[in-house]
Protein backbone atom coordinates (compact mmCIF):
# COMPACT_ATOMS: atom_id res chain seq x y z
CA UNK A 1 0.00 0.00 0.00
CA UNK A 2 1.67 3.13 -1.09
CA UNK A 3 -1.27 5.49 -1.35
CA UNK A 4 -1.54 7.86 1.53
CA UNK A 5 -4.85 7.90 3.29
CA UNK A 6 -6.82 11.03 2.81
CA UNK A 7 -7.87 12.55 6.09
CA UNK A 8 -11.38 13.02 4.81
CA UNK A 9 -13.01 9.94 6.20
CA UNK A 10 -15.02 8.12 5.03
CA UNK A 11 -13.40 8.37 1.63
CA UNK A 12 -16.39 7.11 -0.23
CA UNK A 13 -19.71 7.22 1.42
CA UNK A 14 -22.01 4.64 -0.04
CA UNK A 15 -24.67 6.49 -2.00
CA UNK A 16 -27.53 4.29 -0.88
CA UNK A 17 -26.61 4.75 2.76
CA UNK A 18 -26.10 8.49 2.57
CA UNK A 19 -29.20 9.66 4.36
CA UNK A 20 -28.59 7.38 7.25
CA UNK A 21 -24.89 7.87 7.71
CA UNK A 22 -24.03 11.31 8.87
CA UNK A 23 -20.29 11.67 8.80
CA UNK A 24 -19.59 13.73 11.86
CA UNK A 25 -22.09 13.36 14.65
CA UNK A 26 -22.59 9.65 14.43
CA UNK A 27 -18.96 8.95 15.09
CA UNK A 28 -18.99 11.12 18.16
CA UNK A 29 -20.24 8.45 20.44
CA UNK A 30 -19.42 4.91 19.39
CA UNK A 31 -20.95 3.37 22.43
CA UNK A 32 -24.28 5.10 22.38
CA UNK A 33 -25.99 1.77 21.67
CA UNK A 34 -23.89 -0.01 24.26
CA UNK A 35 -21.18 -2.62 23.97
CA UNK A 36 -21.98 -5.86 22.20
CA UNK A 37 -18.81 -7.87 22.56
CA UNK A 38 -15.97 -7.43 25.00
CA UNK A 39 -12.66 -9.23 24.92
CA UNK A 40 -10.99 -9.13 28.32
CA UNK A 41 -7.33 -10.09 28.52
CA UNK A 42 -7.60 -12.75 25.83
CA UNK A 43 -4.60 -14.99 25.31
CA UNK A 44 -4.87 -17.61 22.65
CA UNK A 45 -2.71 -20.66 21.97
CA UNK A 46 -2.41 -23.09 19.08
CA UNK A 47 -0.85 -25.91 21.11
CA UNK A 48 2.50 -24.40 22.07
CA UNK A 49 2.29 -21.40 19.79
CA UNK A 50 0.75 -18.30 21.35
CA UNK A 51 -1.14 -16.34 18.72
CA UNK A 52 -2.82 -13.63 20.82
CA UNK A 53 -1.42 -11.74 23.81
CA UNK A 54 -3.68 -10.03 26.34
CA UNK A 55 -6.22 -8.57 23.95
CA UNK A 56 -8.66 -6.06 25.44
CA UNK A 57 -11.22 -4.81 23.00
CA UNK A 58 -14.78 -3.56 23.20
CA UNK A 59 -16.95 -3.92 20.14
CA UNK A 60 -19.70 -1.30 20.22
CA UNK A 61 -23.18 -2.30 19.23
CA UNK A 62 -24.51 -1.31 15.81
CA UNK A 63 -21.06 -0.25 14.72
CA UNK A 64 -18.50 -1.62 12.31
CA UNK A 65 -15.20 -2.56 13.88
CA UNK A 66 -12.33 -3.12 11.46
CA UNK A 67 -9.38 -5.33 12.36
CA UNK A 68 -6.25 -4.42 10.48
CA UNK A 69 -2.66 -5.54 10.66
CA UNK A 70 -0.01 -7.38 8.67
CA UNK A 71 -0.49 -10.97 7.55
CA UNK A 72 -0.18 -13.51 10.34
CA UNK A 73 -0.76 -11.05 13.16
CA UNK A 74 -3.77 -12.91 14.52
CA UNK A 75 -6.79 -11.12 13.03
CA UNK A 76 -8.51 -14.26 11.84
CA UNK A 77 -7.61 -16.01 15.06
CA UNK A 78 -9.22 -13.26 17.08
CA UNK A 79 -12.29 -13.28 14.87
CA UNK A 80 -12.69 -17.03 15.32
CA UNK A 81 -12.49 -16.60 19.09
CA UNK A 82 -15.66 -14.54 18.96
CA UNK A 83 -17.85 -17.42 17.76
CA UNK A 84 -15.69 -20.20 19.19
CA UNK A 85 -14.80 -21.59 15.78
CA UNK A 86 -11.32 -22.18 17.17
CA UNK A 87 -12.84 -24.93 19.31
CA UNK A 88 -12.80 -27.07 16.18
CA UNK A 89 -9.01 -26.95 15.97
CA UNK A 90 -7.44 -29.58 18.20
CA UNK A 91 -5.14 -28.40 20.95
CA UNK A 92 -6.24 -24.77 21.05
CA UNK A 93 -6.64 -22.91 24.32
CA UNK A 94 -8.09 -19.56 25.23
CA UNK A 95 -7.33 -17.72 28.45
CA UNK A 96 -9.34 -14.69 29.36
CA UNK A 97 -12.92 -13.77 28.79
CA UNK A 98 -15.09 -12.89 25.85
CA UNK A 99 -18.41 -11.36 26.78
CA UNK A 100 -21.38 -11.26 24.47
CA UNK A 101 -24.04 -8.98 25.93
CA UNK A 102 -22.21 -9.31 29.22
CA UNK A 103 -22.18 -13.12 29.24
CA UNK A 104 -18.90 -14.99 29.03
CA UNK A 105 -19.20 -17.21 25.97
CA UNK A 106 -16.34 -19.40 27.16
CA UNK A 107 -17.90 -20.25 30.46
CA UNK A 108 -19.01 -23.77 31.15
CA UNK A 109 -22.45 -24.65 29.87
CA UNK A 110 -22.44 -22.21 26.96
CA UNK A 111 -24.49 -23.59 24.08
CA UNK A 112 -22.02 -23.22 21.23
CA UNK A 113 -24.64 -24.00 18.59
CA UNK A 114 -26.85 -21.21 19.94
CA UNK A 115 -23.86 -18.88 20.11
CA UNK A 116 -23.03 -19.43 16.44
CA UNK A 117 -26.58 -18.63 15.47
CA UNK A 118 -26.14 -15.28 17.20
CA UNK A 119 -22.63 -14.67 15.88
CA UNK A 120 -22.46 -15.38 12.16
CA UNK A 121 -19.30 -15.63 10.11
CA UNK A 122 -18.03 -15.12 6.58
CA UNK A 123 -14.74 -16.92 6.02
CA UNK A 124 -11.56 -15.64 4.43
CA UNK A 125 -11.80 -18.30 1.75
CA UNK A 126 -15.26 -18.72 0.31
CA UNK A 127 -16.63 -22.15 1.16
CA UNK A 128 -20.04 -22.81 -0.37
CA UNK A 129 -21.60 -26.22 0.16
CA UNK A 130 -21.69 -28.53 -2.85
CA UNK A 131 -25.41 -27.94 -3.13
CA UNK A 132 -27.63 -25.63 -5.09
CA UNK A 133 -27.45 -21.88 -4.64
CA UNK A 134 -30.87 -22.00 -3.02
CA UNK A 135 -29.90 -24.76 -0.59
CA UNK A 136 -26.77 -22.91 0.43
CA UNK A 137 -28.71 -19.89 1.62
CA UNK A 138 -31.59 -21.91 3.03
CA UNK A 139 -29.28 -24.12 5.10
CA UNK A 140 -28.97 -21.85 8.13
CA UNK A 141 -32.72 -21.29 8.56
CA UNK A 142 -33.33 -24.97 7.86
CA UNK A 143 -31.04 -26.21 10.62
CA UNK A 144 -32.67 -23.62 12.89
CA UNK A 145 -35.98 -25.34 12.25
CA UNK A 146 -37.64 -23.30 9.48
CA UNK A 147 -39.54 -25.76 7.31
CA UNK A 148 -42.11 -23.77 5.33
CA UNK A 149 -40.83 -23.29 1.81
CA UNK A 150 -42.65 -19.96 1.45
CA UNK A 151 -40.64 -18.52 4.32
CA UNK A 152 -37.42 -20.09 3.08
CA UNK A 153 -37.92 -18.64 -0.39
CA UNK A 154 -38.52 -15.24 1.11
CA UNK A 155 -35.34 -15.44 3.20
CA UNK A 156 -33.29 -16.67 0.26
CA UNK A 157 -34.43 -13.84 -1.97
CA UNK A 158 -33.94 -11.18 0.68
CA UNK A 159 -30.45 -12.34 1.62
CA UNK A 160 -29.29 -12.76 -1.96
CA UNK A 161 -30.53 -9.26 -2.66
CA UNK A 162 -28.70 -7.88 0.36
CA UNK A 163 -25.51 -9.56 -0.79
CA UNK A 164 -25.93 -8.02 -4.26
CA UNK A 165 -26.19 -11.41 -5.90
CA UNK A 166 -29.89 -11.79 -6.63
CA UNK A 167 -29.88 -10.27 -10.09
CA UNK A 168 -27.13 -12.59 -11.23
CA UNK A 169 -28.53 -15.83 -9.86
CA UNK A 170 -32.30 -15.48 -9.64
CA UNK A 171 -32.82 -17.50 -12.81
CA UNK A 172 -30.57 -20.35 -11.70
CA UNK A 173 -31.16 -20.89 -8.02
CA UNK A 174 -31.08 -24.64 -8.57
CA UNK A 175 -27.65 -24.72 -10.15
CA UNK A 176 -24.65 -25.83 -8.15
CA UNK A 177 -23.14 -23.07 -6.05
CA UNK A 178 -19.72 -24.23 -7.19
CA UNK A 179 -20.43 -23.11 -10.74
CA UNK A 180 -20.41 -19.51 -9.56
CA UNK A 181 -17.32 -17.38 -9.98
CA UNK A 182 -15.04 -16.81 -7.00
CA UNK A 183 -16.51 -13.41 -6.24
CA UNK A 184 -20.06 -14.68 -6.63
CA UNK A 185 -19.27 -17.53 -4.27
CA UNK A 186 -18.04 -15.09 -1.66
CA UNK A 187 -21.21 -13.03 -1.93
CA UNK A 188 -23.19 -16.26 -1.66
CA UNK A 189 -21.37 -17.00 1.59
CA UNK A 190 -22.31 -13.56 2.85
CA UNK A 191 -25.95 -14.18 1.92
CA UNK A 192 -25.76 -17.54 3.66
CA UNK A 193 -24.44 -15.93 6.84
CA UNK A 194 -27.18 -13.28 6.75
CA UNK A 195 -29.87 -15.94 6.41
CA UNK A 196 -29.44 -17.05 10.02
CA UNK A 197 -30.21 -13.47 11.07
CA UNK A 198 -27.30 -13.14 13.49
CA UNK A 199 -26.77 -10.33 15.99
CA UNK A 200 -23.07 -10.09 15.29
CA UNK A 201 -21.55 -10.64 11.88
CA UNK A 202 -17.87 -11.55 11.61
CA UNK A 203 -16.38 -10.99 8.18
CA UNK A 204 -12.89 -12.17 7.35
CA UNK A 205 -11.76 -10.21 4.31
CA UNK A 206 -15.15 -10.53 2.64
CA UNK A 207 -14.12 -8.43 -0.32
CA UNK A 208 -10.65 -9.73 -1.03
CA UNK A 209 -11.81 -11.72 -4.06
CA UNK A 210 -14.27 -9.18 -5.39
CA UNK A 211 -14.13 -6.69 -8.23
CA UNK A 212 -14.63 -3.00 -7.44
CA UNK A 213 -18.32 -3.11 -8.26
CA UNK A 214 -19.15 -6.01 -5.95
CA UNK A 215 -16.84 -4.57 -3.32
CA UNK A 216 -18.83 -1.35 -3.42
CA UNK A 217 -22.02 -3.38 -3.15
CA UNK A 218 -20.68 -5.21 -0.10
CA UNK A 219 -19.61 -1.97 1.50
CA UNK A 220 -23.06 -0.54 0.92
CA UNK A 221 -24.44 -3.67 2.50
CA UNK A 222 -22.24 -3.24 5.56
CA UNK A 223 -23.49 0.32 5.92
CA UNK A 224 -27.05 -0.88 5.81
CA UNK A 225 -26.52 -3.82 8.08
CA UNK A 226 -25.08 -1.94 10.97
CA UNK A 227 -28.51 -0.58 11.78
CA UNK A 228 -29.45 -4.05 12.88
CA UNK A 229 -26.20 -5.92 13.33
CA UNK A 230 -22.87 -5.44 15.00
CA UNK A 231 -20.12 -6.07 12.50
CA UNK A 232 -16.48 -7.03 12.90
CA UNK A 233 -14.55 -7.03 9.65
CA UNK A 234 -10.98 -8.01 8.85
CA UNK A 235 -9.51 -6.16 5.93
CA UNK A 236 -6.16 -5.55 4.30
CA UNK A 237 -7.52 -2.63 2.39
CA UNK A 238 -6.93 0.59 4.33
CA UNK A 239 -9.36 2.60 2.26
CA UNK A 240 -11.98 0.01 2.92
CA UNK A 241 -11.34 0.13 6.65
CA UNK A 242 -11.56 3.89 6.51
CA UNK A 243 -14.73 3.82 4.46
CA UNK A 244 -16.79 1.26 6.26
CA UNK A 245 -15.70 1.17 9.87
CA UNK A 246 -16.50 3.26 12.91
CA UNK A 247 -13.79 1.76 15.03
CA UNK A 248 -10.46 0.34 13.96
CA UNK A 249 -8.19 -2.05 15.84
CA UNK A 250 -4.59 -2.50 14.77
CA UNK A 251 -3.03 -5.89 15.50
CA UNK A 252 0.65 -6.61 15.30
CA UNK A 253 2.28 -9.96 16.05
CA UNK A 254 -0.54 -11.08 18.29
CA UNK A 255 -0.79 -7.82 20.21
CA UNK A 256 -3.48 -5.21 19.96
CA UNK A 257 -1.39 -2.11 19.39
CA UNK A 258 -4.04 0.50 19.09
CA UNK A 259 -7.78 0.80 18.95
CA UNK A 260 -9.88 3.86 18.43
CA UNK A 261 -12.38 5.67 16.33
CA UNK A 262 -11.56 5.17 12.69
CA UNK A 263 -11.56 8.91 12.02
CA UNK A 264 -9.01 9.51 14.75
CA UNK A 265 -6.90 6.53 13.93
CA UNK A 266 -6.50 7.40 10.27
CA UNK A 267 -5.89 11.08 10.89
CA UNK A 268 -3.66 11.07 13.93
CA UNK A 269 -2.67 7.61 15.11
CA UNK A 270 -1.13 7.53 18.56
CA UNK A 271 1.37 4.79 17.84
CA UNK A 272 4.23 5.02 15.39
CA UNK A 273 3.68 1.43 14.21
CA UNK A 274 0.04 2.17 13.42
CA UNK A 275 1.00 5.16 11.39
CA UNK A 276 3.65 3.21 9.51
CA UNK A 277 1.19 0.48 8.75
CA UNK A 278 -1.72 2.57 7.57
CA UNK A 279 0.49 4.75 5.45
CA UNK A 280 1.95 1.64 3.90
CA UNK A 281 5.45 1.89 5.21
CA UNK A 282 5.43 -1.74 6.26
CA UNK A 283 3.11 -4.72 6.33
Amino acid sequence: MSEAISPRVPLRVAPRALPRVPTGQDHEDLTKHGIKVTAADVNFFYSEHQALYGINLAVPKNCVTALIGPSGCGKSTFLRCLNRMNDMIDGTLLRGKILLDGEDIYQRGTDVVELRKRVGMVFQKSNPFPKTIYENVAYGPRVAGVKKSVILEEIVEKCLQQAALWDEVQSRLNDSALQLSGGQQQRLCIARALATDPEVLLMDEPASALDPKSTAAIEDLIFELKDTYTIVIVTHNMQQAARVSDQTAFFYEGHLIEVGRTTDMFTHPREKRTEDYITGRFG
Binding site: M85, M88, V113, G120, F123, N127, F129, P130, A144
Partner: protein, 292 residues
Protein backbone atom coordinates in the same frame (compact mmCIF):
# COMPACT_ATOMS: atom_id res chain seq x y z
CA UNK B 1 14.16 -29.13 -30.76
CA UNK B 2 16.43 -27.66 -28.16
CA UNK B 3 17.96 -29.86 -25.54
CA UNK B 4 18.17 -28.46 -22.05
CA UNK B 5 21.71 -28.17 -20.78
CA UNK B 6 20.75 -30.29 -17.78
CA UNK B 7 19.78 -33.33 -19.81
CA UNK B 8 23.34 -33.78 -21.07
CA UNK B 9 24.32 -35.31 -17.77
CA UNK B 10 21.57 -37.93 -18.09
CA UNK B 11 21.91 -39.44 -21.57
CA UNK B 12 19.88 -42.52 -20.61
CA UNK B 13 17.02 -40.70 -18.91
CA UNK B 14 14.73 -40.91 -21.89
CA UNK B 15 15.46 -44.56 -22.58
CA UNK B 16 15.02 -45.40 -18.89
CA UNK B 17 11.69 -43.66 -18.83
CA UNK B 18 10.50 -45.53 -21.89
CA UNK B 19 11.73 -48.83 -20.51
CA UNK B 20 9.82 -48.22 -17.29
CA UNK B 21 6.64 -47.43 -19.20
CA UNK B 22 7.11 -50.62 -21.19
CA UNK B 23 7.63 -52.67 -18.03
CA UNK B 24 4.45 -51.22 -16.50
CA UNK B 25 2.54 -51.99 -19.67
CA UNK B 26 3.77 -55.58 -19.62
CA UNK B 27 2.67 -56.01 -16.01
CA UNK B 28 -0.80 -54.77 -16.87
CA UNK B 29 -0.95 -57.03 -19.89
CA UNK B 30 0.14 -60.01 -17.79
CA UNK B 31 -2.51 -59.53 -15.12
CA UNK B 32 -5.25 -58.86 -17.64
CA UNK B 33 -4.32 -61.90 -19.69
CA UNK B 34 -4.32 -64.14 -16.59
CA UNK B 35 -7.81 -62.88 -15.80
CA UNK B 36 -9.00 -63.40 -19.37
CA UNK B 37 -7.51 -66.88 -19.43
CA UNK B 38 -9.24 -67.74 -16.17
CA UNK B 39 -12.61 -66.48 -17.34
CA UNK B 40 -12.17 -68.18 -20.69
CA UNK B 41 -11.40 -71.43 -18.96
CA UNK B 42 -14.39 -71.21 -16.61
CA UNK B 43 -16.83 -70.14 -19.26
CA UNK B 44 -15.60 -72.82 -21.66
CA UNK B 45 -15.91 -75.45 -18.96
CA UNK B 46 -19.18 -74.39 -17.37
CA UNK B 47 -21.18 -72.76 -20.14
CA UNK B 48 -22.76 -76.01 -21.38
CA UNK B 49 -24.10 -76.86 -17.89
CA UNK B 50 -25.56 -73.41 -17.40
CA UNK B 51 -29.29 -73.20 -17.94
CA UNK B 52 -32.32 -71.76 -16.24
CA UNK B 53 -32.98 -75.26 -14.87
CA UNK B 54 -29.53 -75.29 -13.31
CA UNK B 55 -30.23 -72.02 -11.55
CA UNK B 56 -33.63 -73.08 -10.20
CA UNK B 57 -32.99 -76.71 -9.20
CA UNK B 58 -31.98 -78.22 -5.89
CA UNK B 59 -28.63 -79.98 -5.63
CA UNK B 60 -28.66 -83.68 -6.35
CA UNK B 61 -26.45 -86.73 -6.18
CA UNK B 62 -26.36 -86.65 -9.96
CA UNK B 63 -24.46 -83.82 -11.51
CA UNK B 64 -26.79 -83.62 -14.48
CA UNK B 65 -29.81 -83.02 -12.23
CA UNK B 66 -28.03 -80.72 -9.81
CA UNK B 67 -28.91 -77.08 -9.48
CA UNK B 68 -27.75 -74.11 -7.47
CA UNK B 69 -31.05 -72.65 -6.24
CA UNK B 70 -30.57 -73.30 -2.50
CA UNK B 71 -27.02 -71.94 -2.59
CA UNK B 72 -28.06 -68.84 -4.53
CA UNK B 73 -30.90 -68.04 -2.14
CA UNK B 74 -28.68 -68.89 0.85
CA UNK B 75 -26.03 -66.47 -0.40
CA UNK B 76 -28.58 -63.71 -0.96
CA UNK B 77 -29.93 -64.18 2.58
CA UNK B 78 -26.39 -64.14 3.96
CA UNK B 79 -25.53 -60.94 2.13
CA UNK B 80 -28.77 -59.40 3.33
CA UNK B 81 -28.04 -60.24 6.96
CA UNK B 82 -24.43 -59.15 6.61
CA UNK B 83 -25.43 -55.82 5.06
CA UNK B 84 -28.10 -55.29 7.70
CA UNK B 85 -25.56 -55.52 10.49
CA UNK B 86 -22.28 -54.40 8.95
CA UNK B 87 -23.41 -51.22 7.18
CA UNK B 88 -25.05 -49.39 10.12
CA UNK B 89 -22.45 -50.58 12.62
CA UNK B 90 -19.53 -49.91 10.28
CA UNK B 91 -20.65 -46.48 9.11
CA UNK B 92 -21.67 -45.57 12.66
CA UNK B 93 -18.27 -46.54 14.01
CA UNK B 94 -16.59 -44.54 11.25
CA UNK B 95 -18.69 -41.47 12.06
CA UNK B 96 -17.89 -41.82 15.73
CA UNK B 97 -14.16 -42.15 15.14
CA UNK B 98 -13.96 -39.33 12.61
CA UNK B 99 -16.46 -36.79 13.92
CA UNK B 100 -17.01 -37.41 17.62
CA UNK B 101 -14.04 -39.08 19.30
CA UNK B 102 -11.49 -36.51 20.39
CA UNK B 103 -7.92 -37.45 19.52
CA UNK B 104 -6.60 -39.57 22.34
CA UNK B 105 -4.47 -42.58 22.97
CA UNK B 106 -7.58 -44.64 23.21
CA UNK B 107 -8.71 -43.59 19.75
CA UNK B 108 -5.33 -44.35 18.21
CA UNK B 109 -5.40 -47.75 19.86
CA UNK B 110 -8.84 -48.52 18.45
CA UNK B 111 -7.72 -47.22 15.06
CA UNK B 112 -4.64 -49.43 14.92
CA UNK B 113 -6.68 -52.43 15.99
CA UNK B 114 -9.27 -51.90 13.29
CA UNK B 115 -6.54 -51.66 10.68
CA UNK B 116 -5.02 -54.89 11.99
CA UNK B 117 -8.36 -56.67 12.09
CA UNK B 118 -8.84 -55.89 8.41
CA UNK B 119 -5.80 -58.07 7.71
CA UNK B 120 -6.85 -61.08 9.80
CA UNK B 121 -7.56 -64.18 7.66
CA UNK B 122 -11.28 -64.86 7.42
CA UNK B 123 -10.97 -68.40 8.78
CA UNK B 124 -10.02 -66.89 12.13
CA UNK B 125 -13.34 -65.04 12.15
CA UNK B 126 -14.97 -68.37 11.37
CA UNK B 127 -13.53 -69.83 14.56
CA UNK B 128 -14.64 -66.75 16.49
CA UNK B 129 -18.12 -67.01 14.99
CA UNK B 130 -18.29 -70.67 15.92
CA UNK B 131 -17.44 -69.92 19.54
CA UNK B 132 -19.42 -66.70 19.88
CA UNK B 133 -22.55 -67.05 17.78
CA UNK B 134 -23.03 -70.80 17.36
CA UNK B 135 -21.98 -72.00 20.82
CA UNK B 136 -22.34 -69.10 23.25
CA UNK B 137 -25.36 -67.37 21.75
CA UNK B 138 -26.94 -70.64 20.59
CA UNK B 139 -27.68 -69.34 17.13
CA UNK B 140 -27.17 -72.87 15.75
CA UNK B 141 -25.87 -73.11 12.22
CA UNK B 142 -28.43 -70.90 10.60
CA UNK B 143 -28.19 -67.95 8.26
CA UNK B 144 -28.09 -65.54 11.19
CA UNK B 145 -24.91 -67.04 12.62
CA UNK B 146 -23.37 -67.08 9.13
CA UNK B 147 -24.33 -63.48 8.43
CA UNK B 148 -23.00 -62.30 11.77
CA UNK B 149 -19.73 -64.11 11.17
CA UNK B 150 -19.39 -62.49 7.74
CA UNK B 151 -20.21 -59.17 9.44
CA UNK B 152 -17.12 -59.65 11.57
CA UNK B 153 -15.08 -60.34 8.44
CA UNK B 154 -16.14 -57.20 6.57
CA UNK B 155 -16.70 -54.75 9.43
CA UNK B 156 -13.09 -53.49 9.60
CA UNK B 157 -13.05 -52.85 5.85
CA UNK B 158 -16.33 -50.95 5.96
CA UNK B 159 -15.15 -48.86 8.90
CA UNK B 160 -11.83 -48.02 7.26
CA UNK B 161 -13.29 -47.13 3.87
CA UNK B 162 -16.09 -45.05 5.42
CA UNK B 163 -13.55 -43.20 7.55
CA UNK B 164 -11.53 -42.54 4.42
CA UNK B 165 -14.61 -41.17 2.68
CA UNK B 166 -15.50 -38.90 5.60
CA UNK B 167 -11.95 -37.65 5.90
CA UNK B 168 -12.01 -36.68 2.23
CA UNK B 169 -14.75 -34.10 2.88
CA UNK B 170 -13.00 -30.72 2.99
CA UNK B 171 -12.88 -29.32 6.53
CA UNK B 172 -14.12 -25.98 5.17
CA UNK B 173 -17.51 -27.65 4.69
CA UNK B 174 -17.62 -28.61 8.35
CA UNK B 175 -16.57 -25.12 9.39
CA UNK B 176 -19.20 -23.48 7.21
CA UNK B 177 -21.89 -25.72 8.62
CA UNK B 178 -20.94 -25.24 12.26
CA UNK B 179 -20.58 -21.50 11.78
CA UNK B 180 -24.20 -21.40 10.64
CA UNK B 181 -25.33 -22.88 13.92
CA UNK B 182 -25.73 -26.46 12.76
CA UNK B 183 -25.34 -29.16 15.36
CA UNK B 184 -22.87 -31.96 14.93
CA UNK B 185 -25.58 -34.34 13.87
CA UNK B 186 -27.08 -31.85 11.39
CA UNK B 187 -23.64 -31.34 9.89
CA UNK B 188 -23.14 -35.07 9.55
CA UNK B 189 -26.58 -35.73 8.15
CA UNK B 190 -26.96 -32.78 5.76
CA UNK B 191 -23.37 -32.25 4.64
CA UNK B 192 -20.90 -35.01 5.42
CA UNK B 193 -22.93 -38.12 4.64
CA UNK B 194 -24.31 -36.92 1.28
CA UNK B 195 -20.83 -35.84 0.19
CA UNK B 196 -19.07 -38.98 1.37
CA UNK B 197 -21.80 -41.38 0.28
CA UNK B 198 -20.20 -42.43 -3.03
CA UNK B 199 -17.01 -43.36 -1.18
CA UNK B 200 -18.91 -45.18 1.55
CA UNK B 201 -20.97 -47.09 -1.02
CA UNK B 202 -17.85 -48.18 -2.87
CA UNK B 203 -16.41 -49.56 0.36
CA UNK B 204 -19.66 -51.28 1.26
CA UNK B 205 -19.96 -52.96 -2.14
CA UNK B 206 -16.34 -54.12 -2.11
CA UNK B 207 -16.86 -55.55 1.35
CA UNK B 208 -20.11 -57.28 0.52
CA UNK B 209 -18.54 -58.68 -2.65
CA UNK B 210 -15.86 -60.14 -0.47
CA UNK B 211 -18.47 -61.57 1.90
CA UNK B 212 -20.24 -63.15 -1.05
CA UNK B 213 -17.10 -64.99 -2.06
CA UNK B 214 -16.08 -66.21 1.41
CA UNK B 215 -16.30 -69.97 1.91
CA UNK B 216 -13.81 -70.65 4.70
CA UNK B 217 -15.55 -69.04 7.70
CA UNK B 218 -18.89 -70.55 6.64
CA UNK B 219 -17.39 -74.01 6.43
CA UNK B 220 -15.91 -73.53 9.90
CA UNK B 221 -19.20 -72.52 11.51
CA UNK B 222 -20.90 -75.40 9.76
CA UNK B 223 -22.76 -74.29 6.67
CA UNK B 224 -24.29 -77.34 5.05
CA UNK B 225 -23.36 -78.47 1.54
CA UNK B 226 -26.39 -80.44 0.52
CA UNK B 227 -29.58 -78.53 1.14
CA UNK B 228 -32.80 -79.19 -0.74
CA UNK B 229 -34.85 -76.33 0.65
CA UNK B 230 -34.51 -72.59 1.18
CA UNK B 231 -34.25 -71.54 4.83
CA UNK B 232 -37.50 -70.34 6.40
CA UNK B 233 -36.12 -69.84 9.87
CA UNK B 234 -32.93 -67.81 9.98
CA UNK B 235 -31.73 -69.50 13.17
CA UNK B 236 -32.68 -73.14 13.04
CA UNK B 237 -32.77 -73.99 9.33
CA UNK B 238 -29.71 -75.28 7.52
CA UNK B 239 -28.50 -73.29 4.56
CA UNK B 240 -25.74 -73.33 2.04
CA UNK B 241 -24.00 -70.59 0.08
CA UNK B 242 -22.59 -70.29 -3.44
CA UNK B 243 -18.88 -70.56 -2.58
CA UNK B 244 -19.55 -73.46 -0.21
CA UNK B 245 -21.57 -75.31 -2.83
CA UNK B 246 -18.97 -74.66 -5.52
CA UNK B 247 -16.20 -75.80 -3.19
CA UNK B 248 -18.15 -78.97 -2.44
CA UNK B 249 -18.66 -79.77 -6.13
CA UNK B 250 -14.99 -79.29 -6.96
CA UNK B 251 -14.20 -81.86 -4.26
CA UNK B 252 -16.19 -84.55 -6.08
CA UNK B 253 -14.22 -87.00 -8.21
CA UNK B 254 -16.55 -86.86 -11.27
CA UNK B 255 -15.72 -84.39 -14.01
CA UNK B 256 -19.43 -83.64 -14.45
CA UNK B 257 -19.43 -82.05 -11.01
CA UNK B 258 -16.44 -79.92 -11.94
CA UNK B 259 -18.43 -78.65 -14.88
CA UNK B 260 -21.38 -77.59 -12.76
CA UNK B 261 -18.91 -76.03 -10.32
CA UNK B 262 -17.74 -73.83 -13.20
CA UNK B 263 -21.36 -73.03 -13.99
CA UNK B 264 -21.81 -72.11 -10.31
CA UNK B 265 -18.87 -69.73 -10.56
CA UNK B 266 -20.56 -68.02 -13.50
CA UNK B 267 -23.68 -67.57 -11.34
CA UNK B 268 -21.53 -66.16 -8.53
CA UNK B 269 -19.87 -63.71 -10.92
CA UNK B 270 -23.27 -62.63 -12.22
CA UNK B 271 -24.48 -61.85 -8.70
CA UNK B 272 -21.27 -59.87 -8.10
CA UNK B 273 -21.76 -57.84 -11.26
CA UNK B 274 -25.40 -57.22 -10.36
CA UNK B 275 -24.34 -55.93 -6.93
CA UNK B 276 -21.82 -53.59 -8.48
CA UNK B 277 -24.38 -52.34 -10.97
CA UNK B 278 -26.74 -51.64 -8.07
CA UNK B 279 -23.98 -49.64 -6.41
CA UNK B 280 -23.48 -47.54 -9.52
CA UNK B 281 -27.19 -46.82 -9.73
CA UNK B 282 -27.44 -45.93 -6.04
CA UNK B 283 -24.40 -43.73 -6.30
CA UNK B 284 -25.86 -41.78 -9.18
CA UNK B 285 -29.17 -41.43 -7.42
CA UNK B 286 -27.72 -40.08 -4.24
CA UNK B 287 -25.11 -37.89 -5.87
CA UNK B 288 -27.93 -35.85 -7.40
CA UNK B 289 -28.31 -34.24 -4.01
CA UNK B 290 -24.70 -33.10 -4.04
CA UNK B 291 -23.79 -30.57 -6.71
CA UNK B 292 -20.05 -30.31 -7.13
Amino acid sequence: MSVSKYSEGRPYAKIASQAFALACGLCTLLSVSVLVLLLWNIFGFGWSSLSWDFVTSWPSRFAAKSGIWSALIGSLYLIGVTALFSVPIGVGAAIYLEEYAPPSRWRSLVQINIANLAGVPSIVYGILGLGLFVRMMHLNRGVLAGGLTLTLVVLPIIILSSQEALRAVPSTIRQASYALGATRWQTIWHQLLPISLPGILTGVILSLSRALGEAAPLVVIGAATFVRFTPKNLITDDYTALPVQIFNWTEQPQVAFHEIAAAGIIVLLTVLIAMNALAVILRQRFSKKVRW
